[in-house]
Each structure stands twice: as structure tokens, then as C-alpha cells.
Amino acid sequence: MRSPSLRALSIATAVAFCVSLSLVFFYAPIEAEEGFLQKIFYLHVPLAIVSLSGFVIGGLMAIAHLRTRDQRWDLRSYVVIHMSLIFGAAVLITGSIWARASWGHWWVWNEPTLVSFLIIFLLYATYQPLRFAIEDPERQARYASVFAITAGAFVPLNFMAVRLSASYVHPRVLGSSSNLPGPMMLTFFVSLGAMALLFATLCCYELAAKRTRILLKARSRILGFQ
């Protein structure tokens, strides 16, 4: 039923990724300080931005669920948070690789964004155990929404708190993206767009799969009674 839009999304994502990867490897200049390894920035930072936005969007969808009591908002909230968690794992892995390449350690504490991200990842990793520890589906959805709202509000606060605590003696590993030259800026935004498209496409796929499974269960329950 929704395959045309799923197909369109998938094609758009594939094209966007082709464009962004070509830009990363052939167009963006090699950075003076870190060299070729700096290019992981175009993967790591879009992943992080999309993941964090996903967590906050999941919180907003949870607010919609609690206000309207429509289970569809809860399904969307669950899928978005689940996908953000997976993207979050990718953020930590790519961040680790970058830290290892730049500083020689797989983990560095003096990079406040990476540390904040670890804390948020650990928090959202408890989302699914919480959900599946509650059997009643209505209560499960309600409690999950409460958690998503609380955790969504926590995301910005956590970043501020960890940034405050960072020691300014050591220079930050991941440089700020605010003073990027033109070609790098373009590549960055194209990569960000491609990552956001990937996130949306994967979420749509998961939503479609879940809806199909729900329909299937409903049908088989009806047939079982006949």
C-alpha cells in the first residue's frame, strides 16, 4: 500500500548518499592538521545531529501520544527512538575511530560532545528494557511516552552540563564546525541531508513492517475465531 513512497524514499536516499560520498572523497579538500582521516567528520557529525534530533522528535511524538491517546503516535515515537539509538551506536563507533586516529586513544574524556553522547546513549538504551518489562500494552505505551518526554528534555540539559564540566586546558579533539571553509561546508550539509534521508527511510520501513505485523495479527485473530 505504501510501497510507492517507500520506493521513492529509498531511491532518493541512495542518490543522496552517492552524491555526498562523491563530494566527501573527491571534492572536499584535505584538512591541513588531521589529513585524510578528518573526512570521518562528514559521517560522524551528521550521524550525531540526526540521532539527537531523533531523540528529541521521539519526545515530541510522545507528547502527542499522551495528549491524543492515539496509539499511532506511540508507534512512531518508538520507531524514531529505536532508530536514533542505532544511529547513536554508530556515532560512538565513528567518534572512537576518530579519537584513535587523532589522539591515539579509543576513548577521550576531554571531548564534551562525545561524553554527553555516551550518557544519552546509556539512558536511551534503557528505553526498550523498560518497554518490554511492562506487559499491559496501554500502560507500556503510556510509561514509554513519559520516559521519552523526560529523556528528550534531558538531552539539551545534559549537553550543557557536560560542556560546563569540560576542562579547557586540553584542546578539543573535534573542532567546531562553525568556521568551515566553503567546500567543506557544502559537503557537510549534503552529508547531513543524506543522513537525514537515510533516517527517515529506515523509520518508514520499520513503521511499515510493524503496521503489517499488527494487521496480520488482527487478521489471524479474526480467522482463528471462525
Partner: protein
């Protein structure tokens, strides 16, 4: 026969209780139950003292000071608080306390405030035991010069733990593996509180200073802000946890 003059027909005899009265009544019940059963607080205090002993052996040091001391104190207080958080709503969940409360015509946030205040009281009693024990067992510099300034981070940290701990306790009490999920959910949310409290306490516990360090107001400011924001969030979402 008409009713007596002071009773008006059709009017309720008693007005519904205001939230403050409900909170006080619930708080009184909580503290009375705790006083009679002594479930949470002695366990928390004993855990804290034992943890200090474990730290001595783990670090192989006779005294600690500065940031190290602040860290050990706060980690111990945090994990002892987790014990209290785990037990906060258990009696209500197991013995129908939630249903009884829902039947009463009162504002549901009163339960949140009362439980948070009772957790705050437990934490206060915990600190009455744990902080002197810490000074006795592990702390290098004398506690007396740090003590007046120490009250501020302790109070703000307690408020943060009380607000977040109560919310998460209400969320996890009616799930399977509640003792596991409670700390797992609460600890990441309390990381900013730990950051603020440990940083604020560290200069107070510095060794070799006559007048001890000054209290860094910036950390107290962030702690207060965090407590306020999460207090408000907990107040906003708590109702949804109680429906059934």
C-alpha cells in the same frame, strides 16, 4: 421536620482537602511507616559506611582529599540513594496503595510531592550518618571547616536525587526487574547532578588549606537550575503514570 440551621441541605459537609494538607498527610504516613518498619534508611546508612570501607581497600589509601574525596563521597551517597529509590513505591504497588490513592478526590501530584519529600528526608538522615562516617574513615582535611559550605551542594544534590528518583521509581515499580531498571534509568539522568555536586564539593575538601576553598557558585547555579527543570518535568508527567 427541617434540618438544624447549621446544616444546609444539598451542600457537602466537608470541602475537598487542599493539596498542601494532602501532601502533609501522605508525608506523615510515609515517615510513620518508615519509622515503624525501618526498611530503607538503616540499610542506606549501613551501605554507605560499608562502601567507605570498600573504598579504603580498593584505593589502598588511608586518607583522601580534594576532588578524590568529593568523588568518593558523592558516588557513595548516590548508590545508597538508589537503594532508597528502589524501595520508595514498593509498598504502594504490592498492597494496593496506588488504587486507594486514585480513589481519593485529591490532586494526584500530591503523591509525587509527598514521596519526593519523604525521599529527601531519608537522604537527609543518610547524610547525618554518612558524612561524619566519611570524615572519620577516609577524609584527610578536617570536616569542621568545610561543613557550613558543604550544606549547599548536599541540599541541592538531594533535591535533584529526590525529584528524579521519585519519578523513575514511580515509572519502574510496576515492571518486571524493577530493581534493575530503577538504577539503570536514574543514573544517567543524575550525571549532571554528580558533576555539579562533585565539582562544588572538591574545593571544600582540599588538604592543607587553613580556611578551605570557596564554594564555586557556578556549580550551585547549574545544580539549582537542573533541579528546577526536572522538578517541573516530573510534576508535569507524573499524572500519566498513575492512571490505570
Amino acid at each position: 421536620m427541617s434540618p438544624p440551621a447549621h446544616v444546609r441541605v444539598g451542600q457537602p459537609v466537608h470541602a475537598p482537602a487542599g493539596t498542601a494538607k494532602v501532601v502533609l498527610a501522605l508525608l506523615r504516613k510515609e515517615l510513620l511507616v518508615e519509622l515503624r518498619t525501618l526498611e530503607s534508611v538503616p540499610g542506606m546508612a549501613l551501605f554507605a559506611v560499608t562502601t567507605f570501607v570498600v573504598f579504603h581497600f580498593a584505593l589502598n589509601q588511608n586518607t583522601v582529599s580534594g576532588q578524590e574525596a568529593a568523588g568518593i563521597l558523592w558516588v557513595t551517597l548516590l548508590f545508597a540513594a538508589m537503594l532508597g529509590v528502589n524501595r520508595l513505591f514498593v509498598a504502594d504497588a504490592d498492597q494496593g496503595g496506588f488504587d486507594a490513592f486514585l480513589l481519593a478526590p485529591v490532586d494526584r501530584s500530591a503523591l509525587l510531592i509527598a514521596k519526593a519529600l519523604s525521599l529527601l528526608t531519608y537522604l537527609f538522615v543518610l547524610e547525618l550518618v554518612a558524612v561524619p562516617a566519611f570524615a572519620l574513615l577516609l577524609l584527610g582535611p578536617p570536616l569542621s571547616q568545610a561543613l557550613p559550605s558543604l550544606l549547599a551542594p548536599l541540599a541541592l544534590g538531594d533535591l535533584g536525587v529526590a525529584a528524579i528518583g521519585t519519578l523513575i521509581a514511580a515509572m519502574t515499580v510496576r515492571t518486571r526487574a524493577r530493581d534493575l531498571l530503577g538504577p539503570m534509568l536514574t543514573l544517567p539522568l543524575l550525571v549532571p547532578v554528580v558533576i555539579g555536586c562533585a565539582r562544588a564539593t572538591a574545593p571544600l575538601l582540599q588538604a592543607g588549606r587553613a580556611g578551605s576553598g570557596t564554594l564555586p557558585l557556578r556549580w550551585l547555579g547549574t545544580l539549582a537550575l537542573y533541579d528546577l527543570v526536572f522538578g517541573l518535568i516530573a510534576y508535569a508527567v507524573f499524572d500519566f503514570l498513575l492512571e490505570d
